[in-house]
Structure formats: structure tokens, C-alpha cells
Symmetry: C2
Subunit: 459 residues, 2 copies
């Protein structure tokens, strides 16, 4: 008898039972609310308990229904944040990844898995017009942005040995909070992050960027990196990549693209992303616009040597006794993590199950859904569109009512879920489409629900 | 018709088919080699291909057999690195986590999931004798160590705003490479990491630590943190926690415990971990000694305020409109990541399926297996034990043959898998037991295989 033994028969039953729960859950999604009517008190009461000494066995699956009832369902009517919809083949890929339980530190530790990861990273690079870029998968955009900026720091103001010296990072005031967090973690100091003004389309103003760099140089500081947002989390604005690349080249500084939200839309609308391949590093989230289950992010970079310079620091116990270029490859020499899940398997399965054209079509629909909503907002007398819609985030407001109160009520009604943003100082309702389950009817529902919520406030 | 549509029936078939593949794979493990006879050329040939435009549909599952053949199987005879064995209920939990696809940024984004994560983090803390510690799950020990040291830096030499100033970190020369990587990333500089000598049991020497701190202070540098290895990756040595805690308190500096390998063994052998609860932060890997599928790591910390000081930097678009203490909780204010997978679900399911006693028993067996191997090495005239065995890593050598050649041959024979370490300058064979599938017979096999490999060299 082994430790934690389960007979083959019992395990097979458990796995099949879980697969049925999964399938039933997916087919139940349309009937679920956009957000559960659940309180913190309720979830604490249901789930706060000690770890019991005795095992509960297969009965543990019975709890899935309660958990599913109180989580946020990934329906076609969830439009908050930039929340990918969780493509089911990807979830099945995650099961098989956990079954195989590879540790993708290196080819040595995970032979086929490391190869598959390098292949799918190549697919992602090629899909966004950056064939030839290398990279690795990671947990989220925050980690990918941290790695991109770590590479910038180590290329221009090497700090790994002697510690960080002040170097200045430039981004727009619309940049994601992970940029400031990365600058902090890297020891550069948030006071060396310039959050620069944007134009009327919420894109980084290149004149402001040039001025800021010139001022820093005059004052003896060292410009380090430009972070281009593609697109911004609030409105999906795409910073002017060709101009930023030109400035970066002229100044001899790094160009990192925070493409967590938008870059994968290059698969469907490459014309929006001109200049992307001029970047030094690019973060993108396959758990957003390739609909993969969380987590599945990626950092692409132009120069593997820069990644190795930033991250290679190997202990003897992982020394690789091999000269073959494939077999001696180690992700830990080119990224932050050592232990790494076999994230590539879900991409491998989901992307091939549906094929590239189907993903292009899905992203095209998301872009169309956003335009559909934007037009509906513009044609509704009570509503006002607050920003252009270059990708799939739509920010708008009710002209006459308290929009924060409307948002609470929309969420409480449970038919659609919106989140919020601040646009030119005003509280905005925000709908974002990175959801393969969304239909035209779901989009239409947004206006209906906002108006109904506004009417309730009035009543 | 939705994008990426799959009918309920087809999806149910696919999920059940995948569950059967999983169950069959688990029951096939005993018959699989410890390491595949696979080359880099082979895996490239099999898996290097473009992303096709057309979808392949359910046929994608047919590839699982080929992938499974060329990955490293998690059998009971894999003893390399510190490689957890991948408990199947945890893998099923990973499926359901990807089905629910929660983004555990905060309670608002993932209501029940955030509660469950806080509960299981409490279980982990309590299991290792640190009830009352808070924390969060993350991808691996590297990230957990990075977070612990980021908290140390921000508590003692705040750098988030103005950038890093030199602060000195102390660890033993046996510390894991992720410590140096974290010190680098945080902008402290590896030259400010003191890798101090160890005693004959490979534990950090407290006299060397006191001397190093005193010298740094005399020379005007600022001591920042002590990193205790519990245990070291090579031999499992446990640094003397009560003494280190006393020094940290007297010096007013941070004590971080890198417990990725060993801390969870406190569940089975708490007497080995005296003083653990005196730490300021503790990393541990549930994908090692709780056998969970990768990834499932955790950082515990004593003071939530220190975590908030290090990591809280929130963008407006995630501003939480809620005052309830459970509902307003956000992991992103207390950790590095924003998007976070629902890692807690596998722990929730696996730990309750088997119960706490079963995990204690499994860890106890691993500890016994290591002692069994150590005794077998000591009683074999051709072999030499190279280090004490306080946890479950056993380092040894053949007295007369080229041990690197033996290792290659052991791996090629495919019956057991060992990795290597350098002990007092000598190449060591190393077996590590964090594997619920390992039997006594598997342990016996190690000596048989090493001797057989040595004999082959001789032939």
C-alpha cells in the first residue's frame, strides 16, 4: 500500500465524475447570473473550516456545486476588467498538464514539454507579427512586465551585481499598475517612473515623452526604458509604436510593450499594431485574447542574450551535463521562475483544436461587439461615450444619473457584469469584450440593463 | 453560432475522453521508465510545427500518447531534484479550477475562490506551526522568496518610491539560487549577498553570521535580512532557526525562511523545525511536500501590513467599492501578481480527500525512505554517504568509479532517476524523496541500479 493510495478504479471514477461536472457546468453557463448574489459572510460560512484529520474521499466532488454557485461564472455576459472567457479545450489541457506534472525548468527536467513550450511561444510571436522573437510563458502580465523591465535594467544599467542605480522609465498616465509595481520591485523607484500625459485618444504624447527624456538628461538622470501600452486597460488605447520605437532607438533605450490586453488582437487586425516588431520586449496574455484558462501569459523578447544577462544565475545542482542545443536549453536562464507549470499544453491543445482561423474570427467578433456597443451608446440620448474604442473596451456613462449607483444596480440585477474606470475625472461604466461566448444579443443586453438600472434609481 | 463553438455533446465526450486518458496514464505509471529515452532531435521533430489555420478538432487528444511517451513520468522511482509526485486528486482540482476560470486578484473578482484560498493558506500556516500567519499562493519558491525579500527590503530600507539602497542579505553558501536571483531583481546587488560558510552538517554557521553582520556594520553597510534554508536543496540541511531568529531580533533585521523544500515536513516532524514561527516570512512549496501538481507555492508572513507596504499599489480601474472586510480583500495588495489562477482548489480537494493524517503519513514515509537509503549506502562497501540526512535528500558516491559517468548510465538504464550535487567539492549522486508513489522496493532499487551502472563502467 502506497501513501495517499487510490485504486485505479476509484481514480478513474473520480476523474470521469469530474469531467461530467465540468461538462455540465459549461452547459449550465447560459443559465447562470453574470455575477453571484453572494456575500463575504456567506462564502466564509460555507468554506471556512479546519483541515480535518480524516479524509472525506470522493465526497469532496459534491462540493463543486456549492463552489460553482458562489464564484463568478465565465458567461458571455461578463464584461468586467479584461477577463478572458476560459476556452474549455484549454481547461482540458490544464487537466492533462497536471496529470503529466512536468516541471518546465528546462528540457532536461521536462523533455517534450520544454520543446512544446518553445514551439507555442513561436506561434504567439508569429501570430503578432514578431516571428523570430523568443520568450517564455509565465503566470500573468505583471510577471511578464516585470521580466521585460528587468531585461531593460540589466541591459542599460546593470544592477544584478552591484545594485540598482536610478534609471528613468517612461509610460503614459494610462499605463497599467503593474508597471509601477515592477519599477518598485526592481529597485528603480516609482519616483523614476514618468507617467506622461496622453492625447485626446488616451495615447502617450510623443512630444511629452521627448521633453521628459530631454529634461531628465539635462538633470543628469539616465533614461532607461519606454513602456508602450497596447492597449491601455481603461480604454484600449494603443500608444504610437513607430514613433516610440524611433525615440527609443535614437535615445538608445529599451522599448517594452505592455500588450497584456491588446497585442494578441494583431492576429485579427494587424494594421492596428504597426511597429510592434520594433519592440525589445512584449508582454501578452493568452488568458485574455486567446481565451485560455488562467494562467497563461508570455514575454517575448528580441534578444535571448539580454534575457540570459538578466536572469541567468544557475546553482550547481541544476548544472546541465549536456551540449545538445535543444537538450541543454533551460528556461530558468531566460526568465524569473524556476519551477514552471506545463502551461504550453493548454495552448497546444486549444489552438490546434480550433485552428488559427477560428481564433482570428473570435477576436474579430470581439472587436465588432465593441463597435456595436459604442454605436448603441452614441445613438442613445441618455448615454455618452467617453472614449474612442480602438480595441474592445467601451467606456460610457449615463448623462443624468449617478453612474456608480447604476453600476452597483447593474451588478445586483445579475444579467450583465460591467466594471468601472475613471475617464477625464469622470466615473465611467466599462464593458470589455475578450469573450468567445458573447453573442450579439448579449451585447444588446448591456444598454437594456444600464437603462433599466437607471430607471430603478429614478423610481 | 458562437466563436470557438463546441456542442455540449462533443465537449462532454472530449472531457470524458480526457479523464479516461488521465486515469489510464496514472495506472500506466508503474510500467513507465524513470526517464524517457528521448532526444532533443526527436522532440523537435515530433512537435515543431506551425499553427495550422484549420482546426484539428477532437483528434488533438490522440497526441496525448506521444507527449506522454516523451515527458518525464512522475513514477515512484524518480528521485531527482525536489520533485513532487503530482497527487491525482490535485490534478482533478486543477481541471475544475480551469473550468471555473476564476481570476483570484481579489474577492470581488473571485468571490468563493478568494475565500477558499485564504482558508487553505490558513491550513498551511497551521500545519507548519505558524497559525495566525497570513499569506498567498504563488507559482513557485522563486516567486515566494522574491516576495519575502521584497517585504524585507521595503520594511527596512524602503525602495518602492526612491529606489534601492544597498542592504545586505545573509544566507549560507548552500542557499538556493533563487535567493541570489531575488537579491538581483530587487536591485540590492548580488555583491550584497553574503553566502556564508556552513558547519559540518551544512547548516549556516551562526558565528560566521555574527561576524559578517558586525563587519558590514563597521564598514557602514546596512544589514537587511537573514535567509534561513529549511532545508538546503543539496542535502536538506536545516539552518539553526532559533539562533538565527535571535540574531535577527537583536540586529533588528528580517528573517526569511526559504522552506520550499522542507518546511511542510513540519506536519510530520515538527521537532525538526523549532523556531520556525519566529520568522517574518516563510516560503513553502505544496507542489513538493504536499505532492500537489505544479504550480502550488505559498508565502506566509507574520505581518499583513508589511505585505501591504511592499505590494499595495492599486490602479483606479480595480478600485474596490466595498467596505466589508471579506469582500474588500485583494490579494494584489499583498503579493506580486495581479491575475492569479485558482490554485487553492487543488489543495482544497486533495487535502480534504485524503485528510491531514494521510499527508502526515506520506511525509513520514518519505523521511523513512531517505533513512533507509542512507543506511543502505553506509552498509555498502563500495559506497560512501557524503552528508547527513536531516530531511529526505541523500547524497552519496561510489568510492572507486567516475560518479558522473555512473549517473549518466543510471539515467540511461531508465529504472530509477537520480540527480547530482556537489558536496565538499565532490560530485555526488543525489536521491530525494518527496514522492507519495515510492515504495520500499523502489528505494532498494537505487543501490541495485547504481552498482549495476558502476559494474557496466567496469566491463
Amino acid at each position: 500500500m502506497r501513501a495517499l493510495e487510490i485504486s485505479d478504479r476509484d481514480l478513474s471514477k473520480l476523474a470521469i465524475e469530474a469531467a461530467k461536472l465540468a461538462a455540465n457546468y459549461w452547459s449550465s453557463l447560459d443559465g447562470r447570473p453574470a455575477y453571484p448574489a453572494t456575500s463575504g459572510t456567506q462564502t466564509s460560512r460555507l468554506f471556512d473550516r479546519p483541515w480535518a484529520r480524516a479524509g472525506r474521499g470522493p465526497a469532496i466532488l459534491d462540493e463543486f456545486a456549492a463552489i460553482a454557485e458562489h464564484v463568478r461564472p465565465c458567461t458571455g455576459r461578463f464584461f468586467g476588467y479584461v477577463a478572458g472567457s476560459g476556452e474549455p479545450v484549454g481547461a482540458i489541457g490544464d487537466l492533462l498538464a497536471s496529470v503529466l506534472n512536468q516541471n518546465c525548468t528546462s528540457w532536461r527536467s521536462a523533455p517534450a514539454a520544454a520543446t512544446i513550450e518553445r514551439v507555442v511561444v513561436g506561434w504567439l510571436a508569429e501570430a503578432v507579427g514578431c516571428a523570430g522573437f523568443a520568450g517564455s510563458l509565465c503566470g500573468g502580465g505583471s510577471t511578464a512586465n516585470l521580466m521585460g523591465l528587468a531585461m531593460a535594467r540589466e541591459s542599460l544599467l546593470p544592477a544584478n551585481d552591484d545594485g540598482a542605480r536610478p534609471g528613468v522609465v517612461y509610460a503614459s498616465e494610462q499605463a497599467h499598475m503593474s508597471i509601477a509595481k515592477a519599477v518598485s520591485l526592481l529597485g528603480l523607484g516609482r519616483n523614476n517612473l514618468r507617467l506622461l500625459p496622453v492625447d485626446e485618444d488616451f495615447r502617450l504624447r510623443t512630444d511629452a515623452l521627448r521633453d521628459a527624456i530631454a529634461l531628465d538628461r539635462r538633470q543628469g538622470r539616465t533614461p532607461l526604458a519606454i513602456v508602450a501600452s497596447v492597449g491601455t486597460v481603461a480604454t484600449g488605447a494603443i500608444d504610437p509604436l513607430p514613433h516610440l520605437a524611433e525615440i527609443a532607438r535614437a535615445e538608445g533605450i529599451w522599448l517594452h510593450v505592455d500588450g497584456a490586453f491588446g497585442v494578441l488582437a494583431a492576429l485579427a487586425a494587424p494594421e492596428k499594431f504597426e511597429g510592434l516588431s520594433l519592440a525589445d520586449s512584449i508582454s501578452l496574455d493568452a488568458h485574455k485574447w486567446l481565451y485560455q484558462p488562467i494562467d497563461c501569459s508570455c514575454l517575448l523578447h528580441r534578444e535571448r542574450t539580454a534575457a540570459r544577462k538578466a536572469f541567468s544565475y544557475s546553482g550547481d545542482y541544476v548544472r546541465i551535463l549536456n551540449q545538445d542545443p535543444e537538450e541543454s536549453f533551460a528556461f530558468f536562464d531566460e526568465s524569473i521562475e524556476l519551477t514552471r507549470r506545463f502551461r504550453a499544453l493548454k495552448l497546444w491543445m486549444s489552438l490546434q483544436y480550433h485552428g488559427r482561423d477560428a481564433f482570428r474570427e473570435a477576436i474579430t467578433r470581439d472587436l465588432q461587439h465593441a463597435q456595436l456597443l459604442a454605436r448603441a451608446v452614441q445613438s442613445h440620448p441618455a448615454l455618452e461615450l467617453l472614449a474612442p474604442v480602438p480595441l474592445s473596451a467601451v467606456c460610457f456613462r449615463h448623462r443624468a444619473r449617478d453612474n456608480e449607483a447604476i453600476l452597483r444596480r447593474v451588478i445586483a440585477r445579475g444579467r450583465v457584469y460591467l466594471s468601472n474606470a475613471t475617464i477625464n475625472g469622470r466615473f465611467a461604466l466599462r464593458a470589455c469584450f475578450v469573450n468567445h461566448r458573447t453573442t450579439r444579443e448579449d451585447v444588446d443586453e448591456i444598454i437594456v440593463e444600464v437603462i433599466a438600472a437607471a430607471d430603478e434609481l429614478n423610481a
